[in-house]
């Protein structure tokens, strides 16, 4: 943060050409510049810190190790980028993860949005409890969630551990996050628009379809993206409940034991770049929409941020 003391006033040493301005030595000037920009510098350093492992993964995706182990830099090659999906186990695991994430996102977004609408728009008996129910899973360590689901499936004896159990688990932990995101979007919503629609004769369903829904769509979309990211990256809960199904993180965990093939790094970078493109596209669309409809920028940008507060 910025320093807490004021700039010390340097005693008058008139410098030619300066006139009535008090002079500063170049060191003092440099120091002042540093202090004013300290926060910015720290922020940039933090961003660099965040991106260091990404840089490493990127570099090592071009590595050309002699044996099976990709731990030290040997030589540069493009061959792994040439056929990143050649490892069938990896590709299969990746597809499983994507399939799982898409399904889990779909289900949890629908269920979560419905819940959010109910919680924000209606008052009913048990609302406090429902709110609490949403929050508790977010506050439970993944180890406990995964382990308790495993106990549940084991005691019931069905379904047998595999894709279905993974799907159930993923939807479960995604719902809360979707609810929180959509809810925050609903709360910031201008009700007068809905009232205007009703004044113009639209029934409740029409109002929802033509006014409410399009306006909360960014929130729903944000919730869906969050659910997708959580699902595709999940390791702990999947480890407990996957049975013999192998998702991408589970594959990596196994591979880490004996040497991750370079293709894994390549795939990780592909995922990263795909997200960059998707985000870039979304931002570009948003800028266009802004220009066309002149919505205030601040309001839009706050939707992309993941809310931790209502």
């Amino acid at each position: 943060m910025s320093a807490t003391t004021d700039t010390p006033m340097v005693p008058n040493t008139p410098t030619p050409g300066r006139g009535s301005l008090s002079a500063e030595t170049s060191a003092a000037r440099a120091w002042r510049w540093l202090r004013e920009h300290a926060v910015n510098i720290v922020a940039i350093l933090v961003v660099i810190y965040l991106l260091i492992p990404i840089a490493l993964i990127f570099v090592f995706s071009f590595n050309n190790p002699a044996g099976r182990y990709n731990f030290t830099w040997v030589g540069f090659t493009l061959k792994h980028w040439g056929h990143p999906f050649s490892d069938t186990e990896l590709t299969k695991a990746l597809l499983e993860s994507i399939k799982l994430a898409l399904l889990a996102t779909l289900i949890s977004t629908i269920i979560g949005t419905m819940m959010a609408i109910a919680l924000v728009r209606h008052s009913f008996f048990g609302r406090r409890l429902a709110n609490f129910l949403i929050v508790v899973p977010m506050a439970t360590p993944e180890v406990v969630m995964g382990a308790s689901l495993l106990s549940f499936f084991l005691i019931l004896g069905t379904p047998s551990l595999g894709f279905e159990t993974l799907l159930i688990a993923h939807v479960m932990f995604c719902i809360s996050f979707v609810v929180v995101v959509v809810r925050s979007r609903l709360i910031g919503f201008d009700r007068s628009l809905e009232e205007a629609a009703r004044d113009l004769g639209a029934g409740p369903f029409t109002t929802f379809r033509l006014v409410t829904f399009p306006l909360i769509l960014p929130g729903i979309f944000g919730g869906a993206m969050l659910a997708f990211a959580l699902s595709i990256d999940d390791f702990v809960i999947s480890n407990f409940n996957a049975g013999s199904t192998v998702t991408f993180p589970l594959y990596i965990f196994g591979a880490a034991q004996r040497g991750i093939p370079v293709e894994v790094y390549v795939v990780a970078m592909i995922l990263f770049f795909a997200t960059v493109l998707a985000m870039g596209f979304a931002t570009w669309q948003q800028r266009r929409a802004e220009k066309m409809t002149a919505i205030r920028p601040e309001q839009e940008e706050s939707d992309i941020a993941l809310p931790g507060i209502a």
Binding site: F71, T72, S160, G162, V246, Q257
Partner: protein
């Protein structure tokens, strides 16, 4: 009304709670025998350890028999795999698999629990002819009714010659000169017996007290910071990165590691090594036991096994392979890690037996050390 329903639900819950909760044990039944069809066909699902087969054997088998193979490398630990499979196997299912490859001691356990199908030897002529003599009558499966060896290996020392050239024995791993640069294995049946050998105890004759004493010694070393980590296969990364200079390691890995770093070398500890084997087994509920036996037979042909041995670099259970490799890949044929002589493995011990309450106590004590 609502209150009454709630009370009823609660009562039901309590009633259910009173019953024994259902983590089921083994189904008591007669041993299932393989019933062979005339010809192998269909699909064969195999579960094996990673990097345990070459690239040609599976396609060659598919071409030779017309069976389509789904080869999964999803076994990373005997215990974890067993725990994953146990609920399925108890209800007589195998999750689609027809072959699994697990260590001797795990196979012994599964035989006792009735999880394996009994093999029909009439479909295994190559095995009968070529199985190494010293593997024909193991104590846990004297007639090889349930298991066919896949590969064997040795657990010993892998050492960075440049930095720790003086490590020649398990006891040397406790030398404070290498503090924090030593990895031990996280397998109780390999690490503890090796340490027992350092103490002068023969693992096959060890008592529970001997086991616990050795575990005590390991605990001490871990708390002092002598042992950096307990690892599975991932000691390889530590050696390559310089995080460790001497580890307990497996013979097959060493050959691979040397390709990346010629300073790394597998050494036979002066006290001797641990010898282990992994076996192919057919679980109950296997969908395609005929194809499974065909595969087992196929890999016991010396020409096929030669390809596997050349890639995997562990000790092959098939006779006749060394002669073949002498003509095609002589360095491998001469490698005493892949074809160890009798005198080389003189002091080596097989995996010791641990059962019942002794097993529980030892595993519990060792896990406490692993968990810090």
């Amino acid at each position: 009304m609502r209150v009454a329903m709630a009370v009823a639900a609660l009562a039901l819950a309590v009633a259910v709670a009173g019953c024994a909760s259902g983590i089921e044990g083994p189904v008591e039944s007669n041993v299932e025998k393989v019933e062979l069809e005339a010809k192998p066909s269909g699909e064969l699902v195999i579960s094996n350890w990673p990097l345990y087969i070459d690239k040609k054997t599976v396609p060659d088998f598919e071409k030779a028999t017309g069976v389509s193979v789904a080869y999964h490398e999803d076994i990373n630990s005997n215990e974890e795999f067993f725990n994953k499979m146990q609920p399925l196997l108890s209800s007589g299912e195998s999750g689609g698999r027809s072959i699994m490859v697990l260590a001797d001691y795990m196979v012994a356990k599964m035989i006792k629990l009735g999880f394996l199908m009994e093999l029909d030897h009439s479909a295994l002529p190559e095995v009968k002819a070529n199985l190494a003599k010293n593997l024909r009558h193991p104590p846990f499966d004297p007639e090889r009714k349930f298991s066919v060896p896949w590969q064997s290996g040795m657990t010993g020392l892998i050492v960075n010659k440049e930095k720790a050239n003086n490590v020649h024995s398990i006891c040397d791993l406790f030398n404070p000169e290498y503090k924090g640069k030593v990895d031990f294995l996280n397998e109780v049946r390999e690490t503890v017996p090796l340490v027992m050998k350092c103490e002068g105890v023969d693992p096959e004759k060890a008592t529970e007290a001997d086991w616990l004493k050795a575990i005590e010694k390991i605990d001490q070393a871990a708390n002092d910071g002598q042992i950096s980590r307990f690892t599975g296969n991932d000691y390889a990364q530590d050696l390559t990165n310089g995080n460790a200079v001497a580890v307990m390691g497996w013979s097959g890995d060493a050959v691979q590691l040397q390709a990346d770093n010629p300073n790394l070398e597998w050494r036979m500890p002066t006290e001797g090594c641990m010898l282990w084997s992994e076996d192919m087994i057919i679980p109950v509920g296997a969908p395609n036991p005929t194809a499974a036996e065909a595969f087992m037979n196929f890999v016991y042909k010396p020409e096929v096994q030669a390809n596997i041995a050349a890639y995997v670099n562990y000790v092959t259970p098939v006779e006749g392979v060394q002669e073949i490799l002498q003509k095609t890949e002589p360095e491998i044929a001469e490698n005493h890690l892949i074809f160890p002589s009798e005198e080389f493995t003189e002091n080596c011990s097989p995996t010791p037996t641990l059962e019942g309450q002794e097993e529980k106590n030892v595993i519990k004590a060792f896990d406490e050390v692993l968990n810090g």
